[in-house]
Amino acid sequence: MADDDSQQLAERSDQEKWQAAHDKLQTLLDDTNAAFDNARTDAQRNALDAIADETSTALTILNRQDIQSNTAALEAAEEPMQSSIDSLNHLKVELAAVAAGFAEAAAVVDGIEEAVDDVSSFFGL
């Protein structure tokens, strides 16, 4: 992420940051589900399913945090969110290996990077 982008992110309100992180993950989840529907091999499906699981878990954490919009909930969400981000980073590498010749999966790999950046910034991870 460019420096001026980081600066802009820091200046936005918590709610805006929350929404930006949520939007990014939601796009990733929708893209992953669409790619999953078009997957042709078990390897592609398994990798995409794992990404969708992690992304969906991360979104649930964010949705709970929105519903419990308080500092304690935010702190409680950090650890599972870090775990989801770690898994997504790992899965990105795994998916890249099976994505050859599969455009939808390749696009998802790009999406993971952006989503992880935004969510990490929101949680200060």
Partner: protein, 313 residues
């Protein structure tokens, strides 16, 4: 991978609850031809408001049930490789936070019923003791308790609104006090309905609707995984049955979101009808209130139709 008949159970609950307020209002109206125009209007409002509060309760329960179903679907796929961790199945909204919402919705429900009672000048002793207890509970909510329900910007108005709602449930009022009650509760009811609408959220952006959308997405993906992983051991007929579940799940997802969206509209119209009721308290005729009430009844009917269509499947 059979699905729980959650939505059908909710439909039955919803329809059963719809009968109560109808009877209540009918008895209020039958008991008093001498009732004032305001008392009659209030009784009619009470019927629709009671149904709307029940609809919201069912909406929260539907999200929890689908979230549970999504976790079970994931377990079915992961069981062979990861086994079962008995702590892994969790509710979407943790129990203390759900209690806040349940109490608020019950408070709205009881307020609507209380209006019908007061309209009919029901004796004080007949008012339900549990309503007073609920009123105390609403007044006891601290800012910390309500952080699960309202954002930092909304927390003070949430406390004030619930304090007012709790107070009105504890006090025993008579029909002559109706205009005062309605006026006093105009803002709190508007605030509570707005916060509930925010909590329900948006399919893509936040809240219950987003969680419901994603949970259905998970269930649909897991159903496909189930088919692909087991198709070699399935008969043609079994495979057909499992594949047929996929479009049904897509349809169920659309219907579930429509129910939550309709519930949001119902809450908005509930607040508008209540405001119109308060503002026309001293008028013999009240076309503005009739329009708002008609919209609210349309919402109630629309949701009843959706639930009925699910019931007949």
């Amino acid at each position: 991978m059979p699905l729980r008949p959650t939505v059908l159970r909710l439909a039955n609950l919803r329809l059963a609850n719809f009968g109560g307020p109808l009877l209540l209002t009918a008895s209020v109206l039958a008991a008093g031809c001498s009732l004032s125009p305001l008392a009659k209007r209030t009784a009619a409002f009470s019927t629709a408001a009671t149904a709307a509060a029940t609809d919201s309760t069912n909406g929260y329960q539907a999200v929890e049930d689908i979230f549970y179903q999504a976790q079970v679907s994931a377990l079915v796929i992961s069981f062979d490789t990861q086994g079962f961790d008995r702590t892994s199945i969790q509710p979407f909204i943790p129990a203390p936070d759900m209690r806040v919402r349940t109490d608020i919705l019950n408070g709205l429900h009881d307020y609507a019923e209380l209006l019908a009672d007061v309209s009919g000048d029901k004796p004080i002793d007949a008012l339900d003791k549990s309503t007073s207890a609920l009123g105390s509970s609403l007044q006891a909510f601290s800012k910390d308790d309500l952080k699960s329900f309202a954002s930092a910007q909304d927390i003070n108005i949430a406390v004030t609104a619930l304090n007012a709602l709790g107070g009105i449930l504890i006090e025993h009022k008579r029909s002559r006090e109706l205009p005062g009650i309605l006026d006093r509760m105009k803002e709190p009811i508007q605030t509570i309905c707005t916060l509930l609408q925010k909590d329900i959220g948006d399919t893509q952006k936040s809240g219950l609707r987003n969680q419901m959308h994603n949970s259905y997405g998970d269930i649909i993906r897991k159903q496909q995984q189930f088919i692909h992983q087991n198709e070699k051991s399935m008969s043609a007929s079994e495979k057909r049955t499992e594949i047929e579940r996929l479009p049904k799940l897509v349809l169920a997802s659309t219907r579930a979101d429509r129910i939550l969206a309709n519930t949001q509209q119902e809450l908005a119209d509930l607040a508008s009808a209540h405001t119109a009721l308060a503002e026309t308290a001293h008028q013999k005729d009240s076309p503005a209130f009739k329009t708002r009430l008609s919209q609210l009844f349309d919402d109630v009917r629309r949701l009843k139709d959706v639930y009925s269509s699910l019931d007949s499947k």
